[in-house]
Symmetry: C2
Subunit: 252 residues, 2 copies
Amino acid sequence: MSQTVDRALSILPLLAEGPADLGQVADRLGVHKSTALRLLRTLHEHGLVYRQQDQRYRLGARLFALAQEAVENLDVREIAHPHLVELNAQCGHTVHLAVYEEEEVLYIDKVESRYPVRMYSRIGKPVAITVAAVAKLLLADLSEPERRAVAEKLDYPMYTSRSVPNAGAFLKELAVVREQGWATDLGGHEESINCVGAPIRGADGRVVAALSVSAPNVVVTAEELLTLLTLVRRTADTISREYSGTNRPEKA
Amino acid sequence: MSQTVDRALSILPLLAEGPADLGQVADRLGVHKSTALRLLRTLHEHGLVYRQQDQRYRLGARLFALAQEAVENLDVREIAHPHLVELNAQCGHTVHLAVYEEEEVLYIDKVESRYPVRMYSRIGKPVAITVAAVAKLLLADLSEPERRAVAEKLDYPMYTSRSVPNAGAFLKELAVVREQGWATDLGGHEESINCVGAPIRGADGRVVAALSVSAPNVVVTAEELLTLLTLVRRTADTISREYSGTNRPEKA
DNA sequence: TCTGTTCGTTGCATCATATGCAACGCCCGT
DNA sequence: ACGGGCGTTGCATATGATGCAACGAACAGA
């Protein structure tokens, strides 16, 4: 809506790909160098871009600080955190907390596994939306038309042979998840890793976040997965109760 | 330099404090509501702000994704990471990697302690600049006038009784660090935690990053700290060599 | 149910402001 | 010494951002 701001902001994803010099930025924006310069200067003043010694621009430090503050201000996260830690203490595996926003699912908290096997994931990182247990949980709660709309738009990368292959299969999976109130990812993202997840609901019953436990194939047998499931669901329910209690829902 | 962009970007730190509605944003920017609306809309289109159900604005998901991509593109981080993991494997404690940028020091990587005691820190979080070992290392490498300028500008919060109290003491400490080529934080941030750190240098000898090991007081005796020191320095030197080799310094 | 208030939204006329141009200066390589 | 590339600056133009005023919806109180 505001051309100037629009152009300025377009610079950020561009720099996220890697450092770029003034000319490159101007070209990719389709504007004159002097214009690009002024935009970059403004971004620089706000700390969003950083100028390295070779004069090329990179994304700047304030970006991290902002993302950091933002994530710390999420009330679900604050309430959930101690419970995630406890869950981790009980099962030892990696615990994730995720939310849905604007067609993306992203991790907002994580407690690392006690075991040497580590999952590659990071707070703020967009989740593999078509396969992750938390993603299924969050999307399953959308209205039927929304679910369809989103499912159609997604890509379905085959991380493994057990990844969800297409929109049809995904919608079917979402229906199951919606029905049963929990979700799994059985080697759909990484061959050797299974996850079990459960939804966290606000006072109005809508899913506001989802948590999951990720455990390596070798360690967790089918029965173990079942124990994990009950544990996970119990934790999620506890968080839901606490969240609904302390936190008035912002409108239904 | 660009008023419109400047105003738009001013909204971000404002929202970092917590969600705000249109009126609040307009007031704090000192502009008309319609103006604020257009700015927010533009930010929204780029995913930097998110509108929650109660219509208030929050910082958005893309912010995280951007910060994420940015940190992953740092080449020091990429090179250092395996060595940090190995260092962690050898000593078991939390390992941090940090860089200096625009008067801030921030963590860009972290390997968690094997022990249950966890430090509160997060990638992207600004470091307690006056006390952390990594901060001392990074600042010690600045030119003398720069050091003085920065030291004057800083606050010196007394996290503990052993925190660095003022600019004078800080500059003195930096001189020591500069001289000896390593740094410590002995309970200056958290009473019970000690850190040892060493600098990572580029081909031109300038410090490009710093790493540190953080260990709880009770576990690490004076002699143990010494073993950690040699281990830490060795790791840092290894990374320095690798970084200088593969990576032509961007100008001296 | 009606009324007053608050808050987000829209269209529009005005002019502040972002834009592109052209010229300059700098660094680097030849 | 010379030429090319790149970042930077000042300036005239008109584009596009701004504030206003009016509308509409949601809400509270009577």
